[in-house]
Symmetry: C2
Subunit: 338 residues, 2 copies
């Protein structure tokens, strides 16, 4: 069985975008001192949901030979920097409910991961009720955690700050991991998928490296997507920085708690990832339909068809390949039952 | 001949730190409304300079078999976010004058690259007089350009903004490149050498990719250090993003203007860099004495002994190796005469 641990519902029907537009407009109303307008939940039929998936994520699963996608709302759409906690709470609920319906329609094809109702300056403890609802009532297996709800200005506390601890306690109690995943950027310096995503990954890893977070939470688990940002490419740098700081080797320091996905869109990148990161810490993923949609003219295949790169990595043993394709995902997303 | 295009004077005598401490304290005075105190320039003898280099950078050149280092003030020490334009101007002058003395003492061993007197909210045009002084009077061959003088908050305009254009015009006129190099971070999210440096590199590349900067400045040249941040590891992602945006291939779009150094501290990282980036766009560098100072227990050699990784890359032809070790540096740093 092949589990893709990183998919977003990027193909949702336009009603979802319409709802969000009204919500964002409502924020403007509030900021002008006008009352918060009532907005009806988006009305989307099961057939509409099926159609958006059949021609996209499900077609891709069939074509590429993957079985189950760990699926969450569109990351760039989370937009935690927009509006206030009330905005984020309502938006997360709407998006998560849609994921829940998808998992109900295709229980062998999708498992849910939730968007958290983060908001700048609001303590992450505020996300606990929605996390509990998604895990206990909707059967979700994890959450996406935005290390920068300020959307590119990085003004809230870093991930090792006690600010985050109540949420981590709940994650541990529920036995769910978080994928570290920024959302869109409202800072003109950062292109979302080309800079902010990758920087978020690298930044989170370094925050873990320099903190005692996993001493405080020995069973807390994070997946760093996009192949770990810059980290595997600079694995020597990170090993050396840890050593200069008098820390234990990275494997001992972090790799019980930190995992990398395979969203790296060319063979040499995947080969590097497989070479430097232990196979126990790599989870297969493609992030389809996502950041890169074209066909690589040098291969004739989609850039994001990451299964081909893993299949082509002849240095991997069958046992290690099975860990990357399935075993590690089951270990990290421990509530996964499909 | 082997040219290391990326070295900083990280071993300066303590008088330089003492001077900077007084300067930073002076900023505090000014912010309290007290007058700016007079601070004497640091008094450092030639023998003291020689001593700090003989036991560090020069010893390393001899031991590793490199010949010339393109040398600039300590990057993390630039601290553009501290004080105001006056602070940065005086600090840049002091640091650049010290580099000039080094180049005078060891003209075959060091070539100068200047620190710019950037300051948050101050137009980069303000850096032109110091750049001209360093190039025309002191014989420097380039500058370090900080894409985020706000020290981790990324609040000034991005690199493709016209805000930067007067400085670029002067760089083109003087025929000097800039190495993109952030300084220290005052944002608790970003460890300087582990996150802010690498993020700065990735961010700059993406700003170049999404802008028309090199249409406006066809001969402008930038070196992105630390192996290009995350870029070569995600080369497929960047090729795919450019393609989705309807842009020409990266080679055509950027690689007449953008170059990567080899500050990647393990063999698999260097192998990836050499595999995906054309040899014409790679400049040898080690950033010694710098971010990582220890010995890699898996090799028995210093992490930052990057020459070993290039030497071990058997796939490189002798001609390509010569480009990386010397030819490209002479092409990019066109004023280099040593």
């Amino acid at each position: 069985m092949i589990i893709d641990c990183h998919g977003h519902y990027t193909t949702a029907p336009r009603q979802l975008d319409d709802y969000r537009r009204l919500q964002v407009a409502a924020c403007d109303c509030v900021s002008r001192g006008e009352p918060y307008p009532a907005i009806a939940d988006p009305s989307i039929s099961d057939d509409e949901i099926r159609e958006t998936l059949e021609k996209a994520q499900l077609r891709i699963q069939r074509e590429r030979g993957t079985d189950l996608t760990i699926f969450s709302p569109k990351a760039v759409g989370m937009g935690h920097h927009i509006g206030d906690a009330q905005t984020s709470a309502r938006w997360a609920t709407v998006c998560n409910d849609l994921i829940h319906r998808i998992c109900g329609l295709y229980p062998t094809k999708f498992a849910g991961v939730c968007q958290l109702p983060q908001s700048p300056g609001v303590a992450p403890a505020n996300c606990i009720p929605e996390l509990e609802r998604c895990v206990k009532e909707l059967g979700f297996v994890g959450c996406n955690l935005n290390p920068d709800p300020t959307g590119g200005y990085w003004k809230d506390p870093p991930l090792h700050d006690k600010w985050w601890y109540p949420l981590y306690e709940k994650m541990v109690e529920l036995d769910v991991p978080a994928m570290i995943h920024v959302s869109g950027s409202c800072n003109p310096h950062f292109h979302a998928t080309g800079a902010h995503y990758i920087n978020g990954d690298t930044t989170a890893f370094m925050q873990f490296l320099t903190s005692k977070l996993f001493q405080d939470f020995p069973t807390l688990k994070f997946v760093i997507p996009h192949g770990g940002g810059a980290v595997p490419y600079h694995w020597g740098r990170y090993r050396g920085i840890a050593q200069d700081l008098g820390l234990p080797p990275l494997q001992e320091l972090l790799l019980e708690n930190v995992f990398f996905d395979t969203c790296v869109y060319h063979q040499p990148g995947i080969d590097l990832l497989l070479k430097v990161i232990p196979p126990e810490n790599i989870l297969f993923a493609s992030e389809t339909v996502g950041a890169v949609r074209g066909i690589d003219p040098t291969t004739g295949h989609h850039y994001d068809d990451t299964k081909r790169y893993i299949d082509a990595a002849t240095q991997l043993s069958a046992a290690d390949k099975a860990k990357i394709f399935e075993g590690n995902a089951r270990r990290v997303y421990a509530r996964l039952q499909a």
